[in-house]
Amino acid sequence: MSVFTGIADQAKNTAPKKAGMDSVLFRKKLVEKLIAFFRIFLIIGLSFVILYPVLYMLSVSFRASADVLDPAVVWIPRTFTLENYKMAAWLLDYQKSLVTSLLMAVLCAVLQCFTCSVTGYGFARFNFKGRTALLLGALATLLVPIQTTMMPLYNSFVQFTHHTGIPTIDTPIPMAVSALFGVGLKAGLFIFIFFQFYKGMPMELEDAAYIDGCGPIKAYFRIMIPNAGAMFLVVFLLSLVWYWNDDYASVLYYPSNAPLSVGLSNMANKILASAKPDGTAYTQADTMAYLKTGALLCVAPILAVYAVLQRRFTKSVITSGIVG
């Protein structure tokens, strides 16, 4: 509002008196101010669209059952309650599934980071027979629907347990093994990101190391990894998020020890199929409130990580040039 009145005042004072150059400058300034106003308007609007479901979940999670579907309650619940959190945590078996999720996601993200960076470096800096074909192979792993290889792989893990007695199902082992050997979730993408990144680094860095008597492996660990911190952060956070949210591979490998994502996607069925611990049935409002609270509980840990790393993450993405 003040922008417009300001402009109007300015227009009254200056426009009639001075002609020529001044009016051109004035018009330019006006356009700039309008664009700035329009930009802020758009950004706030779109931010609202993005934040809306999260805020709404937050609002519903504190509502008593009577408030959930009450159109008169817009954002602030009439009666605050933590009942939804208690119930959602119980439905998700929160403590157990949180441990499962944390163990799986962190372990897999770390291993994936390491292998993809090493592989990306190998592709970027060394010339060997079949390099192009293998790099295309790495990208092709992205294009195969995950289900294609999932079943045979699952079978081999079951066979492995059958023959050796080492438990694999319901442990992080199957997913960690895939991550360690560079065929984890979206590993092709990460290999490609590292490949692009290392290709963009100046050769002189390693040449200097070689002259000083460093072998390629030592040079990689001592020179390249410290310089790739930003890239590691990006890949780590993205892998963490994708493993955390995965409910496809995990539902297969964790039939009875479900991580949070699987627990959440099963929650609606669980509610439909059973009654509350006190014997009463779930109402529609309960279902809605518990699901939303469950979703919040599921993303809370990852949101906390994002809140801590957010500033550095956005900066890393921007300065390191994620795609070369």
Partner: protein
């Protein structure tokens, strides 16, 4: 001298293999072997007993089943394909637009970026399913003013009471509904575009300004050509995301796996792999001929 150089080259190529060895083992043992297994499965009928598999060769039967017996297959398959193809340019344009908005200097830039990247963190997985469930749920309950902005009925009502032609109202409603999905599915793309925009040397803009180019001309002649590679990456990523992780076909294959129809599921996913791989390759070729890739 020549001999020494050769040995140096050989040594370097050996190091190349060492660096990719972990991945190479995984690629062969955990990708190629199961992949070939899946190909074999798709030509057989599987009988699963605890601990072992019985296979009988049936030729192309599993593939034919998709076209002759499974009434779901073609609609789901083409639906996924068209959805991804239609969604890709919209998403890429939207994310470019948002990236340009966010790239300018303004107060609260950090907060705005944090908000726009938020979907990257909770984008995938069952959380979004719960959120979508909400949006539909609210429509059904209707009258919930908190969600009035995002529901189909209420926006339409507002527009119609304002006297807007129903056809145009429909179109606007479609866009506003899309806006929600768009802003939630273009986090990565925005990120990639911002990275690209930041990489353009400021000197280019200075030169253009000195030469008297308008903002419009600068966008077409400086900005757009400079982020060609990012457009390519984003087209690739959006298409990939729409086909493989977001598509209906994914659910269908999972459904058949859940029914223990491994052979049929393998046949389906192999067909998807071939068609989608081809599609992505073709689109990649076309787009890369438009944008200049250094």
């Amino acid at each position: 001298m020549a001999k020494r150089r050769l040995s140096y080259e050989k040594k370097k190529s050996a190091y190349g293999y060492i660096f990719i060895s972990l991945w190479l083992i995984g690629f062969v043992a955990l990708f190629l072997v199961p992949f070939i297994n899946a190909i074999i499965y798709s030509f057989n009928e599987l009988d699963i007993e605890p601990g072992q598999l019985h296979m009988t060769y049936v030729g192309w039967e599993n593939y034919l089943r998709a076209f002759t017996q499974d009434a779901d297959f073609l609609p789901v398959f083409t639906g996924t394909l068209t959805a991804a193809v239609v969604q890709t340019p919209v998403t890429v344009l939207f994310s470019l637009f948002v990236a340009i908005l966010l790239n300018a200097n303004f107060r609260g830039q950090g907060i705005a970026r944090a908000i726009f990247f938020l979907p990257v963190v909770i984008m995938s997985g069952p959380v979004v399913a719960v959120m979508n469930y909400d949006v539909f749920f609210n429509t059904l309950v209707s009258g919930d003013r908190a969600s009035a902005m995002l529901t189909i009925t209420s926006t339409q009502d507002i527009l119609q009471t304002l006297g807007v032609n129903p056809l145009i109202a429909d179109y606007i409603v479609n866009i506003t509904n899309q806006l929600f999905n768009l802003s939630w599915s273009s986090g990565i793309q925005i990120l990639i575009f911002i990275a690209g925009l930041q990489g353009i040397p400021t000197t280019y803009y200075e030169v253009a300004q000195i030469e008297g180019a308008t903002g419009w001309e600068i966008f077409w002649k400086v900005t757009l050509p400079s982020i060609g590679p990012m457009i390519l990456v984003n087209v690739f990523y959006t298409l990939y995301d729409g086909l493989l992780t977001g598509g209906e076909m994914f659910g269908k294959i999972s459904h058949h796996l859940g029914n223990l129809e491994f052979a049929y599921a393998s046949a389906l996913s192999l067909m998807c792999f071939i068609v989608w791989g081809l599609l992505i390759a073709i689109v990649y070729k076309i787009v890369s001929s438009w944008v200049s890739v250094k």
